[in-house]
Symmetry: C2
Subunit: 193 residues, 2 copies
């Protein structure tokens, strides 16, 4: 395979990039932005070499402990469980959560071979049982698999006498009620305050 | 900047990729497809090092002469002028053109500082004046700039007594007339055969 086809094939591995987009990217880089190519190559190499997982919360980190876990000033009473580092990053950007995290790096999906072991449930339970943790916030997705994951973890935590909560379900900010799906409205109604 | 942010910034240089897509790509690669990272890095490095321009037609090539220019069996009477290597690849995929190419690597755009010199007009004229070339097919885009480029080149070729033609304008295959723009219908009508 020649260098151009190899580049197009490699670009197709990016999520959301098909044959046409990969071609457009390759031609654009080669014709208009060659300096971006060694830069992206270097960033990929550095990232794959340097980015590991935090020993404590499993999020992406270049150091054994990520910056959140290494920050002693956060609220040790709260532990928030998310599916991915991207979910954690979204919560961090809200600026309204000051506790620690635990990143599952997935969600329960028995058909795909993802069980409690793959999401590190035992490590989460050990982490939640640590001195000082008072509440585990289950912030998995509101999809069938995310809900199932939250349910299983909530049961396991309750069996150990650890309190768990779930993110509130409701109408998103900026929505007109007419266009919100009925399940969401029903939840918003029953969870009204 | 940490390795993750550097990777996101580098991915944003790809055409059509903004902050959100770049984040999604970076998280996806790191969590689900780490092997794609060194592969893409290698493909980028190889491409930027090995892919140059063909001496004769200016398309992308790893050898001094591209495979089309190096192929003595093609029809020397035809020379097709396109804006980009991607345009040339599209024409090649049709399988219905057997002549040679000349790739402008751009189109006339005086406001952006792209004049006849930047698109290699002098080299095109020299190439078109070579023994054996009987017709220059101007296959630049049917946009204002592409049309202007075709017009300027056609005038210069005519002044040297070289015949030039333009790709046919008309209704695309699969279109319902109702939804085709009026300018295209007018052209299809006047160019009817």
């Amino acid at each position: 395979m020649n260098a151009l086809d190899s580049l197009i094939e490699a670009l197709k591995r990016l999520p959301g990039v098909g044959q046409k987009s990969a071609q457009r990217m390759a031609y654009h880089l080669l014709q208009h932005d060659r300096t971006a190519m060694p830069r992206l190559a270097g960033a990929l190499t550095a990232a794959v070499e340097r980015i590991k997982h935090c020993e404590r919360c499993h999020t992406f980190s270049e150091t054994p402990l990520c910056i959140v876990c290494a920050d002693a000033k956060r609220d040790r009473r709260l532990l928030c469980v998310v599916e991915t580092p991207a979910d954690q990053a979204a919560l961090e950007r809200t600026g309204s959560y000051l506790g620690y995290y635990f990143v599952l790096l997935g969600r329960l999906s028995p058909l795909d071979g993802v069980g409690t072991r793959q999401i590190g449930a035992a490590e989460l339970l050990a982490r939640a049982a640590e001195d000082g943790v008072e509440e585990v916030i289950l912030a998995t997705s509101f999809t069938a698999e995310g809900e199932a994951t939250a349910h299983v973890l909530a049961e396991a935590l309750r069996a150990r006498g650890i309190k768990s909560t779930r993110l509130a379900r409701g109408v998103p900010i900026g929505s007109e009620l007419e266009y919100v799906d009925l399940g969401t409205i029903a939840h918003a109604l029953s969870d009204r305050r």
